[in-house]
């Protein structure tokens, strides 16, 4: 282990590798900030450029793009409610609210610090336990996945706010929209109305851009006459209270993100949503969440970074990609003549350990870049809305076009924007809709697989211990807040009884 670490440092610390690590994380930050250009597209586009480099150097740079984009994606979500990638959608809840209240600099700093801590902790986990964790995660088959996804859906109650019924309605709508396209495992097309553009469903990021970015712009136009946020410079810095309140959520988010990221089929987006949901249940400040609480930034941000790192565990230890982006990275391994697989650690120790150690430097660079930049980026909000909003619209639409390379995606963004506007106008929560949209395809696939494994019966869910336990937890997560809200309402209606 120690030998390997030394070998890793020797590989990663050469000037060339450090330089390309820097190039990777900076490019990644920029790619992450631009909506529509996610880490997967970024890595795929830049892959051919790296072919002339040494394999280790190239992989260090490509991986830097991946985790660098996780930092960048949250920046645009916090500042202008335009999530750069699906895993930072949750940041447009409390992060954006913080920015609206003049705490943009603080929100960006919290996000950078939470990302860094999550990255370092999960990196240690990755280095120490990659092989055993990867083997353990294999035990999670379709029934266990189904139970976890149900657990994720149960967190809707946390997002729904006061009106649980509206939350459930929006989640159901999200699930319905996610069913557009060819059914998982079959060749039947649903809700496509004969349009080939709908065969593979709506692009998640396009819908997000519409609901969050365009919907918010329309909403602000309607509100009219808002003055730009002019925060004094010292208001841009993070306060000690905010820092203190972020510690526990960061650690919880890291743990949850790491576990969810390692499991097959889940991923960073689900991890960030679940982290937010957990925080909403356990945090002392849970009642502030949704209106700009540091907890609502720290926890999901930590979770999505930890999950991104954790997705390298199956990738490096088993040669099976743990996410869309690591799938493309595995393609890069093959193009460099390296055979990904369980023997990679044994056959290419300098490459694997050099790559892992470079994560440490890369994240350090990102922290050092992002902390001083946070107040600077926050200045964006001083731009008068007459200039800022057209820019947001422009960036969102270009992003939409870049997503699918066709104008259909642009229309999707427009329609989702209208939907987002009406949701805000009539106070329907957006988060449950998004959660339904993310989890819909995963849920359906796991359901089809589970029922196939059980030969048509879902009892298999209860026969396997892990899925049975998870299912019970999901039921509790769903029912406890409901029960407590009913009790609360009862008490309010009969205050006298409490006095007795």
């Amino acid at each position: 282990m120690l030998d390997n670490l030394v070998l890793g440092f020797q590989t990663a610390i050469t000037p060339e590798n450090l330089l390309f690590c820097l190039v990777g994380v900076v490019l990644g930050t920029v790619i992450g900030m631009l909506p529509g250009l996610g880490s997967a597209t970024g890595v795929a586009i830049l892959l051919p450029v790296t072919l002339s480099l040494d394999p280790v150097t190239a992989l260090i740079m490509l991986a830097g793009i991946y985790y660098g984009s996780q930092y960048g994606a949250s920046t645009s979500a916090i500042l202008i409610s335009t999530p750069g990638d699906s895993s930072s959608v949750v940041l447009s809840l409390d992060g954006y609210q913080m920015a609206r209240r003049g705490r943009a600099g603080a929100a960006l700093s919290i996000s950078a610090i939470a990302s860094f801590i999550a990255a370092i902790v999960s990196l240690v986990g990755l280095m120490a336990l990659a092989q055993p964790i990867a083997r353990w995660a294999l035990n999670f088959g379709p029934p266990e996945n189904l139970a976890i996804i149900l657990l994720g859906l149960a967190t809707i109650v946390s997002f729904a706010g006061e009106n649980v019924l509206r939350g459930i309605t929006m989640a159901a709508l999200g699930l319905a929209v996610s069913m557009i396209g060819v059914a998982s495992g079959f060749s039947t097309a649903r809700f496509t109305f004969g349009s080939i553009n709908l065969l593979s469903g709506l692009q998640f990021v396009a819908v997000m851009l519409g609901i969050f970015a365009i919907g918010e712009v329309l909403n602000q136009i309607r509100a009219g006459g808002v003055t730009p946020i002019r925060a004094r410079f010292r208001d841009l810095l993070i306060t000690r209270t905010e820092l203190r309140r972020s510690v526990a959520p960061t650690l919880r988010g890291t743990g949850l993100g790491f576990i969810v990221g390692v499991l097959p089929g889940a991923g960073a987006t689900l991890a960030s949503f679940m982290a937010y949901g957990v925080e909403k249940q356990v945090s002392r400040y849970r009642h502030e969440m949704g209106n700009g609480a540091p907890e609502g930034v720290a926890s999901p941000e930590a979770a999505n970074n930890a999950a991104a790192n954790a997705s390298f565990i199956p990738t490096l230890a088993l040669g099976i990609p743990g996410s869309g982006t690591t799938a493309i990275l595995l393609g890069a391994f093959i193009m460099f003549g390296l055979q990904p697989g369980p023997l990679l650690f044994a056959q290419q120790p300098d490459l694997v350990w050099g790559l892992l150690v470079s994560f440490f430097f890369g994240n350090l660079i990102l922290l050092l870049l992002n902390l001083p930049m946070a107040p600077v980026f926050a200045q964006v909000l001083r731009v008068p809305y007459a200039y800022l909003y057209p820019l947001v619209l422009f960036v969102s639409l270009v992003g939409a076009f870049a997503l699918g390379n066709n104008t259909f995606t642009v229309w999707v963004v427009f329609f989702a924007g209208l939907l987002g506007y009406f949701m805000k106008r009539f106070d329907f929560p957006a988060a449950p809709f998004v959660l339904g949209l993310v989890l819909g395809p995963l849920l359906e696939r796991a359901l089809v697989q589970t029922s196939a494994m059980g030969h048509g019966s879902l009892l298999i869910l209860l026969q396997r211990p892990v899925s049975a336990v998870l299912l019970v937890v999901a039921l509790l997560a769903l029912s406890l807040p409901l029960i407590s809200s009913v009790i609360g309402r009862y008490r309010r209606r009969h205050p006298a009884r409490q006095d007795i």
């Binding site: 890595v43 999670f140 697989g341 259909f408």
Partner: protein, 333 residues
């Protein structure tokens, strides 16, 4: 209508600019060498700026094939070829766009089984007969593999188990190569497998390693690392002949074990329909030269495919055969 068209053009331009800007970041000095003075092909057709459409997103198997072919074609011809990913509709959007290019010899498309599978299962406006087949790069057969600690040793063992106590196999969708292979095996032996559908080769492999399914049928390029490490063991190859790759040379074909089943996924290049005879001959000529290069061999070997290149009408014959089998399999369900 005109206004709409203009927006569309402007957006396209913007998208292109941002992409170019991004690529330019690290791509110093890779300017296309354009070129004049034809050497390949016959007279009559000179390629201009050629577009290679990849109907799937960047990074996938089709993208890798499209980029390798575009680079290889550029090397042996004077054409400048730009790869363009037109994603959506499981490939349908790219093919439909391509359908609109009829008669244009300066557009090519990196094709694979979706060309056959989409018309067989979905309401799309094209079939393979609407296009001009140029070349098949090669064929990708599948291996039937099991977890290393499985008690099964051969493909007949798997069939036996399916008959006696039932066997769960993982597949990657109704029109996947693996579903076709298992269906053909069922027809041949009378057994029936319990199918658990997954989305990708990666998911299938995870399920196999985790013991969630008994067997899967995958392209060798997807499992070579796991075979070498001993985590996964091949039972048989659903191929015409044994592989020549060292690692797979000992793997018996299904036919050797008494189950006469083989089915391959093809990868190749199409030109639009109604192009001139000269343009077709030109591209076939370029393809024939490409097959002789090291770049071609490297592509085939790194993906562990069979180098069964075929051109023009021979490729059409492969498509016909594929179409027949696929429609038979899909029609049954």
């Amino acid at each position: 209508m005109t206004a709409h068209k203009r927006t569309r053009g402007a957006l396209a331009a913007l998208g292109t600019v941002s992409l170019i800007a991004l690529t330019a970041c690290g791509n110093g000095g890779d300017a296309g060498d354009g070129g004049d003075g034809g050497s390949t092909g016959g007279g009559g057709f000179e390629p201009g700026n050629v577009t290679m459409i990849v109907p799937f997103a960047a990074g996938g198997g089709s993208d890798i094939a499209g980029r390798a072919t575009a680079a290889g074609f550029e090397e042996v011809s004077d054409a400048t070829i730009t790869v363009r990913n037109i994603d959506g509709g499981s490939g349908a959007v790219g093919y439909s766009e391509f359908l609109g290019e009829a008669g244009n010899g300066n557009v090519l498309l990196a094709t694979e089984t979706a060309l056959i599978a989409l018309p067989a299962t979905q309401d799309v406006e094209f079939t393979y007969e609407d296009f001009t087949p140029i070349m098949m790069l090669g064929e990708d057969y599948t291996l039937i593999v099991v977890n290393a600690d499985s008690e099964l040793q051969t493909c007949p063992d798997l069939v036996e188990k399916a008959k006696s106590e039932g066997a769960d196999v993982g597949i990657s969708g109704a029109t996947g190569l693996d579903n076709i292979v298992f269906t053909l095996m069922e027809e041949e032996t009378g057994a029936s497998f319990n199918r658990v559908p997954f989305e990708s080769g990666a998911e299938l492999l995870t399920a196999l390693l985790g013991g969630q399914v008994e067997a899967i049928s995958v392209n060798p390029g997807e499992v070579s690392g796991q075979i070498e490490s001993g985590d996964v063991r091949p039972l048989c190859a659903a191929a015409q002949e044994r592989y020549e790759y060292e690692m797979l040379a000992d793997v018996e074909t299904a036919a050797e074990q008494g189950i006469d089943v083989s089915f391959a996924q093809f990868r190749g290049v199409l030109a639009p329909g109604d192009i001139s005879e000269e343009a077709r001959d030109y591209w076939i000529g370029v393809g024939e030269e490409f097959v002789e290069t090291d770049a071609y061999t490297e592509y085939i070997e790194s993906n562990m495919m069979q180098p069964t290149a075929a051109f023009g009408d021979d490729f059409t014959a492969v498509l016909e055969e594929n179409d027949r089998i696929l429609r038979e399999v899909v029609g049954q369900q």
